[in-house]
């Protein structure tokens, strides 16, 4: 195993525009990443492309436009963690020495491709027992909120803290679909989806693309014409869920704890050294329930820490300074790559109005797939930890 570094990032604006295809979004993001890296696109040696809903071989279609062809291109899906999975596979190829330069690109047009499939992103999958019974993402996470009330004493105001915080942050992010702050009254006045979940506690469906270029240390030292800061992939971990036994409560994701702990071990440092976190906030209560498994606060303390503003943009450990899925939207295949782009942007000091001062490390996480046919939901968690290597 050898060290792996980030040479380039690219990201489209996240928005809802049915006139742009997922392949367009992938090509745009990949081109931006190649340009940011300052290399010739032909120098890419392997590409992992994450898209959940796009056409077959969508990766090849997006990358042929840059002359990235005649090399291994792999299309990957892994629910909301598809993007982290693409980054993880690119990481492993470079770390193992199979190649020196790898591209991970994620893209999705929810407005075009979701429409063709006739569902509304709620996901009731008939091959899963939970799906057969009518389980959807919002209904699952509304039960997580139910447990947060029961076990952590969360009030409705508490459960809305993440969406209000993330919409506040998004006003400084020109790539976010929604750029306006929200009030508690506005959140609660929006239509109900499931349980106490209202629309504004859920992420919107959006279109977007994001890409990262990873490389070996030798390649980084030789080809870094833009003089980017040297950012190391300190950890890259992917984990799937275990069986749901009666000692696992919905309020605490065991797959997230396992993935996080493995990532901290691999990085050689724990959450106390993180400067920011970008995580899967498809639902406001979901972000609240992620603080503890990721050890961003002590177990049992998520609500207290959120109330104190610990995770705010100007707090001790900003979570989703970009605005998160709640404000950017969630183009499924793109989001896991996008969170890695956000962390790189922060460490480079290029995040503008939502810059976390002096950021040197960051964690990018996505949790994906709600199944209740026996497994603990969610079904998969992907995490990367990035850190600045100071010269």
């Amino acid at each position: 195993m050898r060290d792996v570094f980030v040479l380039g990032i690219g990201q489209t604006r996240f928005f809802a525009d049915p006139s742009i295809s997922c392949v367009d979004l992938g090509a745009t993001a990949a081109l931006e990443a190649v340009t940011d890296a300052g290399i010739n696109a032909k120098q890419v040696q392997v590409a992992y492309c994450s898209s959940m809903l796009g056409p077959i071989t969508s990766g090849q279609m997006a990358l042929e436009r840059l002359g990235i062809c005649d090399l291994p291109i792999i299309n990957v899906t892994n629910a909301c963690a598809s993007g982290n999975t693409a980054v993880h596979l690119a990481y492993k190829d470079v770390a193992a020495g199979f190649c020196d330069v790898a591209l991970a690109v994620g893209f999705e047009s929810m407005t075009q491709n979701q429409k063709n499939k006739g569902s509304k992103g709620l996901l009731a999958t008939k091959e899963d027992l939970g799906g057969l019974l009518g389980l959807t993402m919002p209904s699952f996470f509304s039960m997580v909120c139910y447990r947060l009330k029961e076990l952590r004493g969360a009030t409705m105001e508490d459960l809305c803290i993440p969406t209000i915080k993330n919409h506040y942050n998004a006003q400084f992010n020109p790539r976010a679909q929604y750029n306006k702050p929200l009030t508690y009254e506005q959140v609660m006045a929006s239509p109900r989806i499931a349980g106490d979940l209202t629309t504004l506690q859920c992420c919107p469906q959006s279109d977007g693309g994001a890409a990262v270029i990873l490389c070996s240390e030798e390649f980084f030292e030789k080809h870094n014409p833009k003089g980017h800061p040297k950012i190391r992939v300190a950890a890259s971990v992917l984990h799937s869920a275990g069986w749901l036994s009666t000692d696992k409560d919905l309020v605490f994701s065991h797959v997230m704890r396992a993935t996080g702990d493995e990532a901290y071990k691999m990085a050689g440092f724990g959450p106390d050294r993180l400067d920011l976190v970008e995580l899967h906030d498809a639902f406001s209560g979901e972000e609240m329930a992620a603080y503890e498994p990721l050890r961003l606060c002590p177990d049992g303390e998520c609500v207290n820490y959120a109330r104190k503003g610990y995770f705010n943009l100007d707090g001790k450990l900003p979570v989703n300074p970009s605005g998160g899925l709640l404000s950017l939207g969630h183009p499924l295949g793109a989001s896991g790559v996008r969170v890695n782009c956000e962390v790189v942007r922060q460490i480079r000091g290029e995040a503008g109005g939502y810059q976390v001062k002096g950021a040197k490390t960051g964690l990018a996480q996505m949790l994906g797939g709600v199944l209740l046919g026996g497994l603990e939901a969610a079904a998969v968690c992907g995490i990367q930890i990035l850190e600045l290597v100071e010269s």
Binding site: K120, L122, A124, K126, E127, L129, G130, L132, L133, G134, L135, T136, P138, S139, S142, M143, V144, Y146, R147, E150, P191, R192, I193, A194, G195, W243, L244, S245, T246, K248, D249, L250, L372, G373, G374
Partner: protein, 152 residues
């Protein structure tokens, strides 16, 4: 009488709903290797991957851990409908459908029922006609509401 099928037929090949001495029941596995009870009863024990399992039926009573009402349409189900995470026999934690007046609370006892969850239309390619199929599945009702109904 319309044709019938079980909810899981065609989607989950393993037996989920079955006849238990003249009435319907839910099938689980008791592992002879590790002793754990698992539902659904899949190919191998999820705890130890042993194939040495006994076919058993879950008891009729479930205890509520969490519940929610879905207000959006989730075809073929019409909103609003209630789902709950429940514990059965203290060993199985699973998602179920609930028919109740009020949202179930933590610790509420529920009773297992079977019935037609929805009716779908199936096209018979040989006869070239469409026919209705009643889809039979399981759901739960609060024990408290059951006794109220008995009193009335």
């Amino acid at each position: 009488m319309a044709k019938q099928r079980y909810l899981t037929e065609g989607y989950i090949s393993k037996e989920v709903i079955a006849d238990n001495n003249g009435k319907l029941g839910i099938v689980a596995h008791r592992c002879r290797n590790c002793g754990k009870l698992s539902f659904p009863a899949y190919e191998l024990c999820p705890y130890c991957s042993s194939d040495n399992t006994d076919r058993v039926f879950l008891s009729d009573e479930a205890t509520v851990l969490a519940a929610t009402v879905t207000y959006a349409p989730v075809p073929p189900y019409k909103p609003p409908f209630t789902l709950a995470m429940v514990d059965i026999d203290d060993e199985v934690r699973t998602l179920v459908r609930v028919e109740s007046k009020d949202l179930p609370k933590v610790g509420d006892k529920l009773r297992l029922k079977f019935g037609v969850l929805f009716t779908e239309t199936e096209y018979d390619r040989k006869k070239k006609v469409s026919e209705d199929v009643d889809v039979v599945g399981y759901y739960y009702v609060p024990v408290a509401e059951e006794s109220e109904a008995a009193e009335n």
